[in-house]
């Protein structure tokens, strides 16, 4: 009897699903660094904007081409337990600032990450600190606050798997993800 009920419910669920808006059951597979962040429907989310504007299309195209750049142009790596931006990444910051000041409709999301040592939730804080370091550097170069947002993945979204320094050094990073 129980089994019959389960089957009926399963069928009902499947039918209901068929009528659902797609975003409820589909999470597009992440393609590292190339995905334009979806605007969030979350209430109270000041960072994301869902409004359309006449230049939005241009910004979308610009974001797509900027996101297609090689990883070396859009990832900033950090030393262990540090959030200072090393001199070698000054060019990435300057280029990003130029992109954003040149196209006021363009947005940039800064995704902070850590290696997998330490506690997970404290690592979220460390990843946020790194994203904020990049954000401050961009603000200093004249980028508008409204063009920038941050997300910290902490240790949850490693670029490379492994429990050694070579993996860790590639995971302590901020990724630059453009969007309209």
């Amino acid at each position: 009897m129980k089994r019959t009920i389960s089957i009926v419910l399963l069928l009902a669920g499947t039918i209901m699903l068929a009528g659902c808006p797609k975003k409820h059951n589909v999470n597009e597979p992440p393609v590292a660094g190339t995905q334009v962040p979806e605007s969030s429907s979350a209430s109270g989310n000041e960072g994301a904007s869902t409004s359309t504007n006449p230049l939005g299309g241009d910004a979308a195209n610009a974001a797509r081409s900027l996101n297609a750049a090689p990883l070396s142009k859009k990832i900033i790596y950090f030393d262990f337990d540090k959030s200072e931006i090393k001199q070698e990444y000054a060019d990435i910051i300057t280029t990003a600032a130029r992109n954003l000041t040149g196209n006021p409709n363009l947005k940039l999301k800064l995704e902070g990450n850590t290696d997998n040592r330490g506690t997970r939730e404290y690592n979220i804080g460390l990843g946020e600190r790194r994203a904020q370091a990049v954000r401050r550097a961009l603000l200093l170069q004249g980028v508008s606050e409204s063009q920038l947002s941050t997300t910290s993945f902490g240790a949850e979204r490693p670029a490379v798997e492994g429990d050694d320094e070579s993996a860790w050094s590639q995971n302590r990073r901020v990724e630059l993800v453009y969007g309209p």
Binding site: A42, E46, A48
Partner: protein
């Protein structure tokens, strides 16, 4: 319609159970004086009909608790099924303090009856004698209940074998990982997927009544706190502010949620949300990282991690306005992610020393003695069993995330080896 859709979707996920995270228990360090007990295989006329070994399950539960040394079946001289047939002198000579005997009978189609007795071998006294009726799926539940009863009768402490754990399972490899929030029985059996995502899931937290789980999902590539009802599968979005939404923790009365939010310039602080009104109260206000809140038993203060003094340390603060945080940890440069034992006599947390990241406990009633109870080097996410006897935590073994157990006194350590996947962030459910 949208609400209905998410209900249907998650209900589907719940039936799509994941039967792969079963634990193999390896005792890596045992207590010096475990209590010797023999759980004799139960009489079962219809072995093939039931194909279920009640005694084995009781035996495994008791062994896993670290408090008992169970006897191998091959060392048993005979297999009595009732007290009348026990040769107490013989079992005493085999160094058993206690014995469990019983039988399993098939009384009707899909109806079973378990009879069991617990004896003190020294005094020959019958301590327990019960009969339990169950259907086939109920046999597992009944066996855990018997283990709970035996545990409580002998140790005077409620057993936690019938409880559940939640954890995160990450499957596949970067960048094509799938994350699952799983709820399983305390022995790792019977895993059910609560929700899954292509983006990270983290920080599962049980409601005090065990009916709901709060967790963090990055499914929109932003952190969001959700609360999901386990029975209906329905979930609601609790916190989706710009920036960080992290570390949910239910108040003991279930009416408030502590959580971590960030300001626009990235300052993480601890807040308390009234779950009825959604009103937020800011609890900490410091430029450092303040996170990983955990409630005191009275619901009037919070333990949390802060790096206001440099490295992360654990503090306690009252939730009334104006209360000043008090620092609790002073040994070493990294002490984080506090979890409080059910009677608040002890705190488990993550500490870093030359052994790496390890689980430590602090005595909260006496002088604040600290004891490092695991070997590391990647031990994080401690969570107390609801009886406070054991702490489950996440560890790494040959590059893979595994779950492990350590008794609250540090004497017994065990690893739970999953057949596949990377297991993280165990959270033990309440009774």
């Amino acid at each position: 319609m949208n609400k209905l859709c998410s209900v249907a979707f998650f209900a589907l996920l719940m039936w799509g159970a994941a039967a792969r995270a079963q634990f193999v228990v390896e005792v890596t360090r045992g207590q010096t004086q475990p209590i010797p007990i023999a759980v004799v295989p139960f009489a079962s006329a219809e072995v093939s009909a039931a194909s279920f070994d009640v005694a084995q399950m009781i035996n495994d539960d008791l062994a896993r608790s670290g408090r008992f040394r169970t006897m191998d079946v091959k060392d048993m001289i005979d297999q009595p099924h009732t007290g009348a047939n026990i040769s107490f002198d013989d079992w005493r000579r085999l160094n058993n303090d206690y014995m469990v005997v019983g039988s399993l009978q098939n009384t009707a189609a899909d109806r079973y009856s378990i009879t069991y007795e617990l004896y003190n071998v020294l005094t020959r006294q019958r301590l327990l004698g019960f009969q339990i009726n169950a259907n086939r799926p109920g046999l597992r539940v009944a066996s855990h209940q018997i283990a709970d009863a035996v545990f409580e009768k002998i140790l005077g402490m409620r057993g936690a074998f019938s409880t559940r754990i939640a954890y995160i399972s990450a499957r596949g490899h970067v960048p094509n990982r799938t994350y699952e929030l799983v709820v399983a029985d305390a022995d790792g059996e019977n895993p059910r997927v609560v929700t899954q995502s292509k983006e990270p899931l983290m920080s599962p937290a049980w409601s005090p009544d065990g009916a709901e789980l709060a967790y963090v999902s990055f499914e929109d590539r932003l952190s969001t706190i959700y609360v999901q009802n386990l029975k209906s599968g329905e979930r609601r979005r609790l916190s989706a502010h710009a920036g960080v939404n992290q570390a949910p923790a239910w108040s003991p009365d279930g009416k408030k949620m502590a959580l971590t939010l960030s300001t626009r310039d990235g300052n993480l602080d601890v807040y308390v949300m009234d779950l009825e009104t959604q009103a937020l109260t800011r609890i900490t206000d410091d430029p450092g990282i303040d996170t990983e809140p955990q409630w005191a038993k009275d619901g009037l203060s919070l333990y949390f991690t802060s790096d206001r003094a440099g490295g992360p340390q654990i503090y306690k603060v009252g939730i009334r306005p104006g209360d000043k945080p008090r620092r609790l940890t002073f040994q070493g440069s990294y002490n984080a992610r506090p979890r409080i034992s059910p009677d608040e006599s002890q705190m488990a947390f993550v500490t870093q020393d030359e052994g790496g990241y390890r689980i430590a406990t602090m005595d909260l009633r006496g002088r604040g003695d600290v004891q490092v109870v695991t070997k590391g080097p990647f031990d994080v996410s401690p969570s107390y069993a609801p009886n406070g006897a054991v702490v489950i935590y996440a560890s790494r073994d040959h590059g893979r995330g595994v779950l492990a157990l350590v008794s609250a006194d540090g004497h017994v350590q065990q690893r739970l080896v999953a057949s596949e996947g990377e297991l993280q962030e165990p959270a033990w459910a309440p009774f």
